[in-house]
Symmetry: C2
DNA sequence: CGAAACTTTGAGGGTGTTCAATATCAGTGG
DNA sequence: CCACTGATATTGAACACCCTCAAAGTTTCG
């Protein structure tokens, strides 16, 4: 099979379990209904009834909740290979909004498609559930970060986690990665003000740990950054129990 | 059927979907393997490989993560009718710990039992998935609270949400509820210091909004508290789409 | 070239923290 | 019965982290 045709999701799941030819076919079929969305315009609004989920194949998305006072909290970012709105197909309405950060490409997945795929290939279903559990674990880790880490450690942890996620789909490594986020995105995700985000980034840069600039993250001292953040990638590296 | 024999989980799910006699039987069977745990001693440690899940039938539990520096962040509380460790049966190891806050009673659920129950009664499976989605939505709301609400609103929101959850299993209402948490628990959950929790509680009490004292929460002005917290119970009241 | 979005820096202030001391209460053993 | 201990709650004082407000610099893009 042609490596250039491999989708990010396939690549991600392959890190978890070796997929059979039949499973690869099913995965490819899930990617059939291709759609594009332009940056900045919400795909799904808070409270809107959502029927479909998406598999992100190119670009970045953030999911967030708006507060009555106008501030927003970004709950998570989606990068290529991630699912989008898996939960909103279960609950009648979506409880948060999705905004493409850049122009994106995604495959629409109908509930029926997904259930069919699950029925055909149980192992694939398990792999997808593993990915979903991992996403949930990341939200929990995010919660811990906001509740119990100061701004510096929070930022460091965030940048490291993002790096690990991107590495899994071949978009980054221990040296760094491309990142289209603005400092406002970081602020809304980390529960900080944009001004303070700027100061923290300067601090980390001057300490020779990491540089966030011009759409690129560069790790200068990965080890020391891990230590500062208290970063333990255990929650990302779990191996599923049902797939030995 | 005898109402006194109804488990909290049954009661909770009944608010979501009318259960058939067959489904009630399956639910009762899930409750067979009864166990008890004493307060303060962890049921599951962070990093421990977990094989079983539990349905909490009496008492309170908290799930938390420990930081390298010794502080802890409580991710969620479990009250009667809640599942415990549903995710740690999927991932090989649990990514956080569970501590009973008081002596508790829980039913152990093996993975095989659960899968069997799902196969027998798909509607019940959906109802349980609904409950799980709801738990996830609460974690997200918790994240938003810590990231974007000040201490007062955060506390108000927390006490209100807990009230709603308990009301669903008949353990509280708009007037208040019994609550075995200490101010340290509140601090670890809300990302505050215990000292500040005390001050915030005093403030809310003096403003005639709510009293937290002697193991009891009393709402004095439910409406004004909802307004202060920006509490929108939408994420708790969702109706499932597959069960009309 | 001008407008819009993003970044950077300074100054002052507020929310919540840490440290420290005291109060209250239940349980325990002398 | 009372002193002692440990857990929880309460309060004060000083300080730190992070915020808000304000302004200017930079980059992007139509």
């Amino acid at each position: 099979m042609n490596i250039t045709a491999t989708s990010p999701l396939t690549r991600k799941l392959s890190a978890f379990v070796v997929l059979s030819e039949a499973e690869l076919v099913v995965l490819r079929r899930l990617h059939q209904r291709r759609r594009t969305f332009v940056a900045g315009r919400d795909m799904v609004h808070q409270g809107q009834s959502g029927q479909a989920a998406y598999i992100l194949s190119a670009g970045w998305v953030c999911s967030y909740k708006l507060q009555p006072d106008g501030t927003r909290q970004i709950v998570d970012f989606q990068v290529p290979g991630d699912f989008l709105g898996l939960r909103s197909v279960l609950l009648r309405t979506s409880d948060h909004s999705f905004e493409p950060i850049v122009d994106i490409e995604a495959a629409e997945v109908l509930t029926s498609d997904l259930l069919e795929a699950f029925a055909q290939t149980p192992r694939l279903a398990t792999a997808i559930l593993w990915a979903a559990s991992r996403d949930e674990a990341m939200v929990v880790e995010h919660l811990v970060g906001i509740g119990r880490r100061d701004a510096e450690a929070r930022m460091a942890h965030f940048l490291l986690e993002l790096g690990s996620r991107l590495a899994l789909v071949g978009m980054g490594g221990k040296e760094g990665y491309d990142c289209p986020l603005t400092q406002y995105h970081l602020a809304d995700a980390l529960g900080l003000s944009a001004v303070h985000v700027n100061r923290v980034l300067r601090q980390l840069r001057e300490d020779g740990l990491v540089t966030f600039r011009d759409g690129h993250v560069t790790f200068h001292d990965h080890g020391r950054l891990v230590e500062l953040a208290g970063f333990d990638p255990g929650y990302l590296d779990q191996i599923g129990p049902l797939l030995k």
